[in-house]
Amino acid sequence: MALEGLLWCIGGLLATSMAAVPAARLRAGSPMVYGAALCLSVVALGIAAASLFIGHSLLGALTLPVGLPWLGAHFRLDSLAAFFLVVVNLGATTASIYGIGYGRHEETPGRVLPFFPAFLAAMNLVVLADDAFTFLFAWEFMSLASWALVMAHHRRPGNAAAGYLYLIMASFGTLALLFAFGLLAGPAGGYAFDAIRAAPPGAGAAAAVLVLALIGAGSKAGLVPLHVWLPLAHPAAPSHVSALMSGVMTKVAVYGVVRIVFDLLGVPTWWAGALVALLGGVTAVMGVLHALMEHDLKRLLAYHTVENIGIIFIGLGLALAFGANGMRTAAALALTAALFHVFNHSVFKSLLFFGSGAVLTATGERDMEHLGGLIHRMPLTAFAFLIGSAAISALPPFNGFVSEWLTFQAILLSPGLPQWLLKFLVPAIGALLALSAALAAACFVKAFGVTFLGRPRTDAARNAAETDRWSLATMFILGAICLVAGILPGYFIDALAPVAHVLAGAHLPRQGELDWLTIIPVAQSRSSYNGLLLFLIIALAAGLGVEVIHRWASDELRRSAPWDCGFPDSSPATQYTAGSFSQPIRRVFGSVVFRAREEVRMPPPGDLQAAQMHVRMRDLLWDALYAPVTRLVGFVADQLNKVQFLSIRAYLTLVFSALVVLLMVLAVWH
């Protein structure tokens, strides 16, 4: 059965991570480990894809005699798990291929190789787990392995702090999930998911579980305001691990939410949908705004993960809202949109992180202000990165657009909802979604433009060289997927049908055999989209344009210095930087959201020193939520610490008073 195969793959991955400890010393160790991981993830990917498409005959469950003794470790492969396994193992496969090339540049392989396969195994385990203990076990193990990978370059400034914040937030999330499962399982400890499904909680408990699940899984997925660790931790890891954490691990967190809220919790309530969707909208906008303010390429990508998680949660929230009102097909549409975006984001985010990794290895720079003009030195990387940027900016004909288009379609169905709050809220969320999509486009114009276009700003950028074949191969595979999923979305939607059917009780009409592969989520007259056709016509039109112009018009071409309104050839420093590019947007949004203040120091006339402009931004969320907690803990620790410095007589007094108090209690009790 498929499940055994997957478990064997996981076992293989764990064995690989064991073997990696000695292998890390060998020169050939890195390719060996990544090769093994590659083979195993390819097999797992195959099994998962097969069981997603073939369905029932391959799905199933089994129990291993490990974990909680009287419970055993339950595993189940259903269509939902199969879909997320496809996402996980696609990411794992590409990351492994990339790692074969990227691993050569790793200075401390001993800190990466053992944990990489373990991380992959843990993510697979989470998706397969079918009881609370196994789920949380795998979940926390995933955190631990990824933490070790974040700490791989612990000597770089800031990384240790990032790892610290990450593991604390992860444990906080696990704690919340622990509470949630405690509530679901009850004091008798019916931890198996079947038992939980059999005895769904009451309304109050369900609400608590929902909130706890949002806190728990949301902190892992990067839901605002629990996102603060993400932009620090994801970039700190080696780039292929960043890709896994951003592209895949956040999806595993989404899986956690879906599993708990849609599967275990039974029938949703409409306010749950409102809550989730609103959180999603806020997360999307906050994430992209943070990204716009960012100059660090990898951190920018990490913030975009936050944004896309927000988009996914919008879809999930809509699905909940529709499902609560029995609008099955609408719920199916929203859910399909969310899940499709899960897949898409995992693809193009991995692509983008691989690109940033290539840039990092070629230039040793993550700061865009020190880059520029790389398109001349690394054309292939630039091309792949451009595809990724277009995809994440939700531009047709790439895949990012299709999922966001589906989300919009779901939003446009919201007038059918009976609750007035939802009626009013959902259009606003739609506006947020549009805003975040547009800002994302702006942000990636900045990212690609400042990094790859223009003129190199430093020697590092000037002397960059194209990256290795493995990395390029990975990026182009992913780019191809972006395009294919964009122009042939019908097949992907059909693949999601069983998942939607299980969770939402309905699924979209089959898209595969519609004429010309148009996708029609609801009705022909309502809305339709055909990426393939658009792609072909545009190609045709462009070709026509080229043809006509080069046939009839001049195709002479002279190279010369840029015109630049007649200024003499200025230094690269005069180019627009990332900071100056995002300045208008910062003026518009940042002054409110980040309390952004610009301080310009203009030297007095005759003074030759340079004028300086300094932008100061504050993260209000941090100030409001996290700083007080740290202050509180420090304060309490200081106060209690005084107890360490008492005299023995004082300690005896403590004992004495404890005794007297207890005796009094006893005397009263009788």
């Binding site: 657009f401 919009f408 009013f424 947020l432 547009a438 702006a442 022909q524 039109a541 627009y576 590019f581």
Partner: protein
């Protein structure tokens, strides 16, 4: 048979928009000139400019990459296709089901994306100014646009332009206040998207005030020609959208025969003339605003769209 007919209509549409777009731009210029008591260039001036540019060589900056050279073709192709998906004189275009209103907006977004990149490619400061301001304006315009779309789909139960046109033609919709709001909102968006006054001034080359012009500052020859053509196509597109959605009368339905189609074309031209005149009047009547006033402008558009949707809820509930 119907298929072939639709194909023919589609091709006619593509040819029509391509042919008529520069004329429309010229027409607007002419009217503005007259309003300013000037003679103004002849209507065919834009065609002449395009031809001249096509004949000239391209002077390419040393630092330009392939993005800079590919962008014009893609921008042109995308905008052209987008424009040709809008029922201008007839519905039942064969490709119209390939993209609904949201997709059309997104197509324009792709074009803008390429253009902004091209602006950054050469590595001069002006391109940067243009790109960053263009993206700011776009990011503010899109939510407003979506709210308009939302309102329309709320009325027509569709985001498919042809269906919207059809259902708004049907009498039962009638005149609605929210439609008016949506119209104003869409118009404001259109003005911003086409970088017209008061958001931007297509005629200026004063460095610090220009947005669109700054991006294409480094372009020359055929590349510039393509971009100019794309710009006028985009203007035509938005006007046609407004015409088709809010004044859907006279649009020929597929299979009505040649006369109907010719009539449709005639009506369409009349609509364009009216719209162009209004646009010219508006532009001459108002002054360009500072870049940082634009958010307020588009914020107002967003509010209008939102208001339209909410009012519609109320009226539909009642």
């Amino acid at each position: 048979m119907a298929l072939v007919l639709n194909l023919l209509v589609q091709i006619a549409q593509m040819a029509l928009v391509l042919a008529i777009a520069p004329l429309f731009t010229g027409y607007v210029r002419k009217v503005k000139a007259h309003l300013l008591r000037r003679q103004g260039p002849p209507l065919v001036q834009p065609y002449r400019e395009l031809l001249r540019l096509l004949r000239k060589d391209v002077v390419l900056a040393n630092t330009a990459s392939w993005v800079f050279r590919v962008a014009p073709y893609l921008i042109f192709a995308t905008t052209w296709v987008a424009a040709s998906l809008i029922p201008t004189f007839a519905t039942g275009l064969i490709f119209s089901y390939a993209a609904d209103m949201i997709a059309i907006v997104a197509l324009l977004g792709s074009a803008r994306f390429m253009l902004a990149l091209a602006g950054l490619d050469v590595g001069t400061s002006f391109g940067g100014i243009g790109s960053s301001r263009e993206m700011l304006i776009a990011s503010l315009a899109e939510p407003a646009m979506l709210m308009v779309v939302f309102t329309l789909s709320l009325l027509a139960g569709s985001t498919q332009l042809s269906s919207i046109a059809a259902s708004l033609q049907a009498s039962d919709v009638g005149l609605r206040f929210s439609l008016a709001l949506a119209l104003i909102g869409l118009t404001m968006v259109a003005i911003a998207e086409n970088s017209r006054i008061p958001v931007d001034n297509p005629a200026t080359h004063l460095e610090l005030t220009m947005v669109h012009e700054a991006m294409i500052l480094e372009y020359s020859g055929r590349h510039l020609a393509l971009i100019e053509a794309a710009a006028s196509l985009k203007l035509l597109l938005y006007v046609s959208v407004i015409a088709c959605v809010f004044f859907p009368w006279g649009i020929a339905v597929s299979g009505q025969g040649l006369v109907a189609y010719l009539g449709g074309v005639g009506v369409y031209v009349l609509k364009l003339a009216a719209a162009g005149f209004l646009l010219a009047v508006f532009e001459t009547a108002t002054a360009k605003m500072r870049v940082f006033r634009v958010p307020d402008f588009l914020g107002a558009a967003l509010m209008l769209g939102f208001l339209a949707a909410l009012l519609l809820f109320v009226t539909m509930a009642g």
